[in-house]
């Protein structure tokens, strides 16, 4: 019994000790980082096996138990998110070895690892937490490490974007904290179990709304998305992949947990959330169509995809929430994997060609074929073509909306899909045109370690669609909350 408990601690403490070691030993940082990632992934796998066998597991830290102490808890959804983080994190780490190997990148090589491992500590901490104040602390850890990663590339644009990101992030955390404070004031508890039985008074709804706005700011839900495109587009490629693939998911996950366990305010507010999501789908799509640079296009597509996840929340109204979170969770997983692959591929394309201006992509004498292929595969999952995981996510979104008779959410999803086909086509068509260049084209440039990682991710994003049924069964383990306690 002690084994499974330790695995939860390991998932949080291994990256923490790894970060300390990588910071103290800058020259061995990459080695420390990879070993830590491997060990953490092992811990997550062990935890997953345990959860699959015996259901959700709980660890009362310090032996106090909630509400006085803090409980860690792993159920199917937690483990699925941890697995996403470990898998994407491990592959991005391998890609980072190659992306940061330049002679002038000694500083980036040295600092990428401690920041990334601290980020991993925070993200894993969020997925195992059952306490809203603890969640606040964890999103602070994530925020500072993520800002550090944003400015790692040290360009002026990146530093400016990082500063804006930090303001948005701190404001979001502050709003979340105020919500937490008011909830404590009213029900005197901070743990999820205490929240479940709470009476939904007007004051409680206001407190939850404050928390939601804070989280929306952190996950860049339209119209609070303004910081995201610049921050994600200007970071160095592995950092972009982590920020877009993993970091925004932590805040999304908290929204999902709150929706699972808090009495949801009202149908009107849920519709409002869906409308904000729809706004993101449309506005993000339009901006992605207008973007001049590849990485900026990918960043805007993140805004649109996050909007879609919120549409999934709202797809079947208040009564449908008990099922809707699963559609949202599938989309979160699909987006995490595919977007990390896409940012890495975009980074590779930029490295090989030397720029990422979309208009001139088809004039490059160099064709990083494998990276372009990876980009296309990731686009397939993000657009939602079968059999990708993105397809399953969108399918379950629309299925639920149809059953509930909410046709407008189906229309929004369709529109979002069309927009994503349009903006990804801008890039894909540039990959396919061979008539613009007169000199011999050097193909197969960039068969490197850095291509292996994004390609694996993109293939996973597509292949996992075939495993949707087991995944759905797995994330339901331990739900609803009270059942396993």
């Amino acid at each position: 019994m002690t084994l499974d408990l330790d695995m939860m601690m390991m998932a949080i403490f291994l990256p923490l000790f790894g970060a300390i070691a990588a910071f103290i030993l800058p020259r061995a940082a990459a080695l420390v980082g990879l070993v830590t990632l491997a060990l953490t992934t092992g811990a997550v796998i062990a935890l997953g096996l345990e959860v699959r066998q015996s259901g959700a597991v709980v660890l009362p830290l310090g032996g106090w138990g909630a509400p006085l102490g803090i409980d860690l808890r792993a159920d199917g959804l937690s483990v699925a998110m941890l697995a996403l983080t470990s898998a994407v994190g491990f592959l991005v780490s391998i890609a980072a070895l190659d992306a940061l190997k330049g002679a002038d990148q000694a500083r980036e090589r040295q600092y990428f690892w401690p920041l990334w491992l601290l980020l991993l500590t925070g993200i894993n901490g969020v997925y195992l937490s059952t306490d809203i104040f603890n969640l606040y602390v964890m999103i602070e850890v994530i925020a500072l490490a993520a800002v550090g990663l944003t400015v790692l590339s040290a360009t002026r644009a990146a530093v400016q974007a990082g500063l804006e990101y930090m303001y948005a992030s701190i404001l979001g955390a502050l709003l979340f904290l105020m919500g937490v404070g008011f909830i404590y004031l009213q029900i005197g508890r901070l743990d999820f179990t205490g929240l479940m039985g709470a009476e939904p008074t007007a004051a409680l709804i206001a407190a939850v709304a404050l928390m939601f706005v804070g989280l929306a700011l952190k996950t860049a839900l339209f119209p609070l998305h303004l910081w995201l495109p610049a921050a994600h587009a200007n970071a160095t490629a592995p950092a972009s992949a982590l920020l877009s693939g993993l970091v925004v998911k932590a805040a999304l996950y908290i929204v999902l947990r709150l929706a699972q366990y808090m009495p949801f305010p009202s149908e009107t507010l849920l519709t409002l959330v869906g409308l904000m999501g729809a706004g993101a789908v449309i506005w993000g799509g339009i901006q992605a169509l207008r973007a001049e640079r590849l990485k900026l296009l990918v960043a805007w597509s993140t805004v649109a995809q996050i909007g879609l996840i919120f549409v999934a929340f709202a797809r079947a109204g208040e009564v449908g929430l008990t099922e809707s979170w699963k559609a949202a969770a599938l989309l979160i997983l699909a987006h995490g994997i595919a977007k990390a692959a896409m940012f890495l591929a975009a980074g590779r394309i930029k490295d090989e060609i030397g720029h990422d201006v979309i208009r001139d992509l088809d004039r490059a004498p160099v064709r990083p074929t494998l990276a372009q292929f990876t980009f296309a595969l990731a686009a397939i999952s993000l657009i939602g073509l079968p059999p990708s995981l993105g397809f399953i996510g969108k399918w379950s979104l629309m299925e639920g909306a149809l059953v509930a008779g909410y046709w407008h959410w189906v229309a929004v999803t369709m529109l979002g899909t069309l927009l994503s086909v349009a903006y990804f086509s801008r890039v894909l068509s540039a990959f396919l045109r061979f008539d613009r260049i007169r000199t011999p084209v050097a193909e197969h440039q960039g068969w490197a370690l850095a291509d292996a990682a994004p390609l694996t991710l993109a293939l996973t994003a597509i292949g996992l669609g075939l495993m949707a049924a087991p995944i759905l069964r797995f994330i339901e383990i331990g739900y609803p909350f009270g059942a396993a306690l």
Partner: protein, 321 residues
């Protein structure tokens, strides 16, 4: 019968709001920072009136002291940069009206939410008080705040220390080339002043840490006060950071986090889980953790004031700051 303190509270509240407005509306940046520092001191007073002396100490030491020093240092740097380039305050473009209106609407909604949450809240709602009082004998310390921070919810506190570690790593990794601004340095009078107050600060900081077990105080407050030692050492040039010191500094940054996390893990086993200190050793372990965390906080805050990783300078260069 009116309590005379009510009048004091009212004046304090008005003062805080007025200072907030003043520091936002004043144009001169130096005045803005000074007003902000005074605002911090008033807030600390307010925390005292709210019977939260621990928060008051933290607000005075970190929110006012260290933050004020950071702001003044930034101002010094900005003035230097502006004296060398053409950028002036007037160069900032005015904010478009639409953005202002959108922001105002957003702030209005937030205020509405706060108002509803506040007005609907019970005045003396349920809380952890009873639970904490019941569990205090098993915590190893006598001050409830320390019990919560270092024992019942030690996991949260560990992660707060991790936040500080992440902050200093993020600051160290920012590439900004060689600094142009000469180090802000104190004159001769201040050198003498520093000699007088340094020992006093060390005593006060250590006392705050030690007394945390029974009374308001503790690692964060003690560390912030001790950080003032670092600030004075940096300002008087008694200590100049050099690249050779980076290893020691890294060690000092991670000391608190590392010790805290190791203790949390090592106590597990034999039927105990992580963070579950054996009662006989609880006080010793908590003091050990607090001591190490205090050192890390003090060094980290001083390093944040310095603001960058010490880098090697070309020969004949200025002192690095």
């Amino acid at each position: 019968m009116t309590d005379p303190l009510v009048i004091f509270d009212l004046l304090l509240a008005l003062g805080i709001v007025a200072l907030a407005i003043a520091s936002l509306s004043v144009r001169d940046r130096f005045a803005m920072i000074v007003l902000f520092i005074v605002f911090g001191l008033f807030s600390a007073l307010a925390w005292v009136r709210l019977s939260a002396p621990d928060v008051a100490l933290a607000e005075a030491a970190i929110g006012t002291g260290v933050t004020g020093a950071l702001l003044l240092k930034t101002l010094h740097h900005l003035r230097f940069v502006e004296s060398r380039t053409a950028i002036t305050e007037a160069a900032c473009a005015p904010v478009p009206l639409g953005v202002l209106l959108a922001n105002a609407a957003f702030c209005g909604l937030i205020t509405l939410g706060l108002a509803v949450a506040f007005l609907g809240a019970p005045s003396a709602g349920p809380g952890f008080d009873a639970l904490v009082a019941e569990a205090m004998p098993a915590s190893g310390v006598d001050h409830p705040v320390t019990g919560v921070l270092l024992n019942f919810r030690a996991y949260d506190t560990l992660m707060e220390v991790v936040v500080l570690l992440a902050a200093v790593i993020a600051v160290w990794q920012i590439e900004r080339g060689l600094s142009d601004a000469p180090a802000p340095a104190m004159g001769e009078v201040w050198q003498g002043f520093a000699r007088l107050v340094l020992p006093a600060i060390v005593v006060i900081g250590t006392y705050l840490l030690w007394v945390g077990a029974e009374a308001p105080g503790g690692a964060f407050q003690g560390g912030a006060v001790l950080a003032a030692v670092g600030l004075l050492l940096l300002l008087t040039r008694a200590y100049v950071p050099r690249p050779e010191h980076r290893g020691i500094a890294r060690g000092a940054f991670v000391l608190g986090t590392g010790t805290f996390a190791l203790v949390a893990l090592m106590v597990a086993g034999g039927g105990r889980v992580a963070f579950e200190y054996p009662l006989d050793h609880a006080k010793t372990l908590i003091l050990l953790i607090e001591g190490m965390v205090t050192i890390s906080i003090a060094v980290t805050l001083a390093a944040l004031f310095h603001g960058r990783e010490p880098v090697a300078l070309p020969k004949g260069g200025r002192d690095d700051t």
